[in-house]
């Protein structure tokens, strides 16, 4: 009979792990192996002394039978300790003689070994999510506000935020240990012990946050699969492929580490190469699917007309045209955008229109959308070296801005509370037509 629990002990919590293993042995559970989980097997309850050791310059990429590790193990077994298991960082020793000389009798030496490992490996791993957040903010600095209309896009900042909170908790925890350790050595007092209870609470908070993000991602992914086939056909299999490949590589590498004596660099290279290959394959697959239009819902050439539901078309203005249409509607929990474009297929077409209708629960979203569109249109107009000037009207709570630009296209911008409509038509709209627009998008207000 075996029991498995997640290994949530950090490198500087080796003493707490040793204490936990001793408590488990007294309850009849003996550690069988340590990797990402602690695996216990049933034994007669007994007192066993455990020591959780960290070698200088430890690494998860070290082979379990490398020369230095074997030498150190023999050093310890010669003094009455038995080596039980290792995950490359923690080396678990035990002795049934509770009076055995501890493996470490000088806390300053042990503190220095752990500190060096922490600075070299553990701290950078805590900083990684924070750096990724900065990178994420940098590459998304100029992203359009319309990205708010996709639920999956909303998950990313939340996931980064949670990861950053976790990183900060871990960094503070490490810093507290380091400062208390330094103080104990300076004052020649005993190093303060870690509390198993605190470690469990911290681990629970982290697991909870990770679960919330995974659950939200899975939930919104399922919603998006229905709306966007690209998710089901391309992205979902890619995600599954990455997860399965990662699990298989870790499993294979663990077996290789136990069986063969590859150097640290070879083991590390296997991980790095696998990571690069997976990243490249994923990027190529996503780019191919985007540029080739595989699974895209609203292709101009291949439309299921029953799904198209624009709020206004040229027919509403009394014009029946030969045209192709491009219609798209995306909605998230906080925003939505509907885009519609009529492409005349005949030279006799005298009226066509296109629009973007954006709704957002937050005013800042609407304001940013208006600003983005205005800048975009101004840049397009820059070629003709003309400033766009808008006429302004207001009725009830709808602001109407209108102008002519470029090829005498007529632009109308309707703004009401947290909704904005950018409408472009080839003809100037009369009062009745403007009222039709307002009625179709905003209800029954008249202009």
């Amino acid at each position: 009979m075996k029991k498995r629990i997640w290994n949530s002990f950090e490198i500087y919590e080796a003493d707490a792990l040793a204490e936990h293993l001793e408590t488990m042995a007294e309850r009849g559970w003996m550690l069988d192996s340590i990797k990402r989980t602690l695996v216990f097997k049933r034994i007669e309850p007994q007192k066993i002394k455990f020591s959780v050791d960290i070698m200088e310059n430890a690494s998860v990429f070290d082979s379990f039978h490398n020369k230095k590790t074997m030498e150190y193990r023999e050093f310890c077994t010669d003094t009455g300790w038995e080596h039980l298991s290792t995950n490359g960082i923690f080396h678990i020793f035990y002795s049934k003689d509770v009076n055995v000389i501890p493996i470490h009798t000088d806390q300053e030496v042990q503190f220095n070994v752990i500190s060096k490992n922490m600075l070299g490996k553990t701290i950078p791993s805590y900083l990684y999510p924070l750096l990724m957040t900065i990178f994420f903010l940098f590459i998304n600095a100029n992203q359009s506000i319309t990205s708010l209309t996709m639920n999956l896009t909303l998950i990313s900042p939340v996931a980064f935020l949670f990861a950053d909170i976790i990183s900060i908790i871990m960094l503070l925890s490490a810093l507290v240990w380091y400062l208390r350790g330094k103080s104990a050595i300076k004052n020649k007092t005993l190093m303060p012990k870690h509390s198993i209870k605190h470690i469990r609470i911290r681990s629970f908070i982290i697991m909870l946050m990770a679960f919330m993000i995974l659950f939200a991602t899975a939930f919104f992914l399922l919603i998006e699969i229905v709306k966007e086939p690209i998710i089901a056909r391309i992205i979902l299999p890619l995600i599954l492929m990455n997860i399965v490949t990662f699990i298989v590589v870790v499993k294979v590498l663990t077996i290789l580490q136990e069986k063969y004596n590859f150097t640290r660099n070879i083991n590390r290279s296997i991980y790095v190469v696998t990571g690069i290959v997976l990243t490249v394959v994923t990027m190529v697959a996503v780019m191919y699917s985007v540029f080739s239009g595989i699974g895209h819902n609203s292709s101009v050439d291949n439309i299921n007309t029953s799904m198209i539901n624009p709020k206004i078309t040229s027919e509403d203005f009394g014009y029946v045209n030969n045209k192709d249409i491009d219609w798209d509607y995306t909605k998230s929990i906080i925003a939505s955008i509907e885009t519609y474009l009529e492409i005349p297929t005949s030279r006799d077409t005298i009226f066509s229109l296109d629009y973007e209708f954006f709704q957002c629960k937050f005013q800042f979203g609407v304001d940013k959308f208006i600003k983005e569109k205005a800048e975009q249109l101004q840049q397009m107009n820059y070629i003709l070296k003309k400033e766009i000037a808008y006429d302004k009207e207001e009725v009830d709570s709808i602001f109407l801005y209108s102008t002519q630009y470029a090829n005498s296209n007529n632009r109308y911008i309707f703004v009401k509370d947290k909704e904005v409509l950018f409408l472009e038509v080839t003809n100037i709209l009369d009062k009745e037509q403007l009222a039709t627009v307002i009625a179709n998008f905003f209800g029954n207000n008249e202009i």
Partner: protein, 93 residues
Amino acid sequence: MYYILLALLKPVCGVEISQKAMEISENRIQIGPGTLYALLGKFEKEQIIREVETVGRKRYYQITEKGYKILLDEYRRLQHLVREGKPFLDQGV
């Protein structure tokens, strides 16, 4: 450090060093294998000790000239402490 260097006046390997240190100190000083392993690595790096022989995975170390000088300086320092304190301690309270 003092007892480890004393133990290394003649070539010895790993566990024998801590046993010798215990003998010299009359069981007062206990050096754990982890502490000893880390210190041997540090001393070898600082050229206070050197590896003289390897038998299987057992490495035999001995003190170097630099290490002997450090040991001697420490021994003289301890002698000074005893000599300077003796007259006062002999007077009693």
